[in-house]
């Protein structure tokens, strides 16, 4: 059985790097991996996503609907945008951060009653799909690591503790050290560690995790 992760976010949040780190760790672990990545037009504050599949029987670069084990959303709204890919009862790990697109803001300008969508509304919708929704304050954890751009690695830290996550921690650490730019290796390793820690406080109360 393959382990299928649907990664999503907004252009510029480092999804491609995150994909490289996981993929490179798969090489070290001797695992098969295949992805379907969508960027290009979408790098301009548009939505971006990567289907990341680990395992011998993952043939298609796209995850079938209702089959992903995990959705990682580096921006909160994007978790909801792609929820059809998640299996019922799957895991959603989403950023607390919302980046309101200009089209939403322009509605608020036109209509004084209009309001921004909130993280609570999103979470309550997602809970109709799965009870396993964990909200992560990616930006402040990244800040703590000393690198605002390390939100992606924080999330990698979070999912790496899942019981079913198919890659050993040491392979991910090695991969981070090889893939991220030299000057930010230390910060990313720290972000990874902080992500792991935070998962034991939240995510692991919902789903089973690896023993510490």
């Amino acid at each position: 059985m393959s382990f299928d992760i649907f990664l999503c976010g907004v252009g510029g949040q480092g999804l491609v790097l995150l994909t490289s780190v996981i993929g490179n760790a798969c090489v070290k672990a001797g695992k098969r991996a295949i992805t379907g990545e969508m960027y290009g037009l979408s790098q301009r504050s548009g939505t971006v996503f990567v289907h990341m599949r680990v395992g011998d029987d993952a043939y298609s670069p796209l995850i079938p609907y209702g089959a992903a084990d995990v959705i990682i959303a580096l921006e909160g709204m994007e978790a909801l945008r792609y929820v059809e890919f998640l299996k019922k009862g799957g895991i959603i790990l989403m950023n607390k951060r919302l980046m309101h697109p200009p089209i939403e803001t322009s509605k608020l300008l036109k209509d004084k009653q209009a309001k921004y969508i909130t993280i609570d509304e999103i979470v309550s919708k997602l809970k109709e799909w799965t009870p396993n929704v964990a909200v992560v304050d990616g930006l402040s954890i990244a800040k703590e690591s000393g690198n605002l751009n390390a939100e992606n690695t924080v999330f990698l830290g979070c999912i790496s503790v899942l019981k079913d996550f198919p890659l050993e921690e040491k392979f991910i650490r090695e991969s981070i050290s090889q893939v991220v730019p030299e000057k930010s290796i230390e910060q990313n390793l720290k972000a990874f560690e902080l992500g792991r820690k935070s998962a034991y406080d939240s995510l692991c109360k919902l789903v089973s995790c690896k023993q510490v």
Binding site: Q43, S60, P61, I103, E104
Partner: protein
């Protein structure tokens, strides 16, 4: 992207984007000349070669357009040098004039053309099916499904090209180019680059009249030889099963078929013929495959290219076989496929039930009612936003036709701006403006980017000069080809491999061909530029405004390299009188409204410090931060 893996002279596994695997395959084949014009989904082939220049001795050019890129490769190949180009499907339209004759003249050194179709028009203006170029031009074509296969095929393509002295197309689709996977690296064994003595080669590459007629005969013979060779190609294979149901497929659809068979529990209950050489097709292999079948399903995206052939072959081989595909209504010619669609198609052909994917999607849709759309938009600091701020003011109360083109500024056609009367293909904004300017009452305004100007707009501009056509052309010069990933072009100080390059002056070209109204503005001077645009619109003749300011993403990269800080702006809420001029028609992604005081806010971590919004505010409430937070 992990460049280390692409350039490592090691034999091991690596995780790679297919486009990187294509580069790796070419390097392992000792390619010596590469030339490109960027275009999704192949741009990373260019980018990877661009980054790897320092490690090897190949010559690389980022060319004016795809036709020039292919001709550069042809030139090298005539001299016996291996060359490669990659382009998006619509790029092949531009290159096709050269491509068709190369089928006649042939080549000497291996020439590989990677052509990427874009089913679903993810980042293209059409869903055109480029496969038809191959039979039309008698040029062999290979189609990979995975990154590993793409690398293998590129290597084999060089050999085929040299053996049969013909360019070889490696045809991909977006879901192959933008697929990563585990790729086996072979060693890189490169010979030193040496100039060739042309006179010693004793070659000619001409075709015309009687010469073309003779070469046509040779070309037909070559196609026959290729067909024979491809019958036993390792890229075509059968996954056998004790069944009278078979599937014929290629490209990424093969992977969807494998996934679908797994989902349906049919892995050992359907035969599969995977085709890797899709021109010329291995007809005997297909005949043998369909011989004993009761049903055959063709799974391919876009046009019924394979399906047509299967119908033709079945007529003699197995007229009783029922063929499922597009003509049976099982699959559509529109849009890309995915595992779910293929599950449905296989189930329909077999008359069995499939998982109810529609209800999954419907359930999800219900949850998304309040979810705002997120269209691609201009980046924070994008000069096109500044240009639009002024241009939209100048166009107010001025009846006009807006002729848009292909580049980041294409996004003016998306909400919330939604402004364009037409947008076709690169350079067409100017060609169309020529036509319209003589038949409509309103003023025609056309826009092109710098890269598009060089690529395809110059002939249409000269046409306007010569014929006295009157319209306004705005040239959006942001120094790079931004849309496809900020590659250098002739308006950049750099060229391939970030070597110093000579800029080709847009204004000098415009003036030299006799245009009287040529003005240059800074895209960030949103207020000042309104008047310039107004004068250009009122000018009785062809008027050109060059709106110049480097792409924000490219500028940020330069700043980071030089160690310069990006200093964001903020809203001084004391000063703010809620005029919303900074954001109403400006749509910067940094902006949001505070729901308590209803005043604008700027996300500090997103702001690029471009200053344009601050110039729009009549109350000077948008201010630059003193120190970087």
């Amino acid at each position: 992207m992990v460049l280390r893996d692409v350039v490592a002279n090691e034999k091991r596994n690596a995780f790679m984007l297919c486009n990187e695997a294509i580069v790796r395959g070419a390097l392992e084949s000792d390619v010596k000349v590469v030339a490109f014009y960027p275009g999704a989904p192949t741009s990373e082939v260019l980018d990877t070669f661009n980054d790897a220049v320092g490690s090897f001795d190949y010559h690389m050019e980022i060319a004016t357009n795809e036709k020039v890129a292919l001709e550069i490769c042809a030139g090298a190949s005539f001299a016996g040098i291996r060359s490669l180009t990659a382009m998006k499907s619509v790029g092949t339209n531009v290159a096709s004039d050269a491509l068709f004759v190369l089928g006649y003249t042939g080549v000497r050194g291996g020439l590989v053309l990677v052509m990427a179709d874009d089913p679903h028009a993810h980042s293209s203006q059409s869903e055109q099916d480029g496969r038809f170029f191959a039979p039309n031009a008698y040029i062999p074509m290979l189609e990979p499904s995975t990154a590993q296969e793409a690398k293998d095929m590129v290597k084999r393509a060089f050999e085929i090209s040299e053996r049969h002295r013909v360019p070889v197309i490696v045809r991909t689709v977006t879901r192959v180019n933008h697929q990563s996977g585990i790729v086996r690296l072979d060693g890189i064994d490169r010979k030193e680059f040496r100039r060739v003595k042309w006179r010693e080669l004793n070659e000619e590459f001409t075709t015309l009249g009687e010469g073309a007629r003779q070469k046509k005969l040779k070309m037909l013979k070559r196609a026959e030889e290729l067909a024979t060779e491809f019958e036993s190609s390792e890229f075509n294979y059968v996954r056998d099963a004790p069944s009278d149901f078979g599937i014929i497929t290629s490209s990424v659809s093969y992977l969807y078929v494998l996934e679908a068979l797994k989902i349906l529990g049919l892995e050992s209950k359907a035969k599969v013929l995977k085709l890797g050489t899709t021109y010329p097709l291995p007809k005997n292999l297909i005949r043998t495959f369909i011989k004993g079948l009761a049903k055959v399903l063709i799974v391919e995206e876009l046009s019924p290219y394979l399906e047509r052939e299967v119908y033709a072959l079945a007529k003699d081989t197995n007229p009783a076989v029922t063929i499922y595909g597009k003509w049976s209504g099982t699959f559509s010619e529109a849009w890309e496929y995915n595992p779910n669609l293929v599950v449905k198609g296989i189930a329909a052909a077999l008359g069995m039930s499939a998982p109810d994917y529609d209800s999954i999607v419907d359930d999800a849709k219900k949850l998304k009612v309040a979810l705002p759309d997120r269209y691609p938009t201009f980046c924070a600091g994008c000069p096109h936003r500044g240009t639009w701020a002024a241009l939209s003011q100048a166009l107010k109360n001025k009846p006009h036709y807006f002729s848009n083109d292909i580049g980041c500024y294409s996004m003016w056609i998306y909400p919330p701006i939604s402004h364009a009367d037409s947008s076709l293909c690169m350079g067409a904004s100017v060609g169309v403006a020529n036509g319209l300017s003589n038949v409509i009452e309103e003023r025609v305004v056309a826009v092109v980017g710098d890269s598009t100007f060089y690529h395809a707009a110059i002939p249409a501009i000269m046409n306007a000069v010569h014929n006295g056509n009157k319209f306004t052309l705005i040239i959006l010069d942001n120094s790079v080809t931004a849309m496809t990933g900020q590659q250098p072009n002739f308006s950049t100080d750099f060229t391939a491999g970030w070597r110093q390059g000579k800029k080709v002056s847009i204004e000098n070209i415009c003036r030299a061909i006799g245009i009287e109204f040529v003005e240059i503005v800074d895209s960030y001077d949103a207020k000042k530029n309104i008047d310039v645009f107004k004068r250009a619109l009122d000018f009785d003749g062809l008027s050109i405004v060059i709106s110049r300011r480097e792409c924000a993403l490219y500028g940020d990269r330069n700043k980071r390299r030089k160690g310069e800080a990006i200093i964001p702006f903020y809203i001084d809420t004391e000063q703010c009188k809620k005029a919303y001029v900074c954001m109403r028609d400006f749509y910067c992604p940094c902006y949001s409204i505070d729901e308590t005081d209803k005043k604008p806010r700027i996300a500090q971590e997103q702001c690029d410090g471009c200053s344009v919004c601050s110039k729009l505010c009549p109350f000077v409430a948008v201010k630059r931060t003193e120190v970087k937070p």
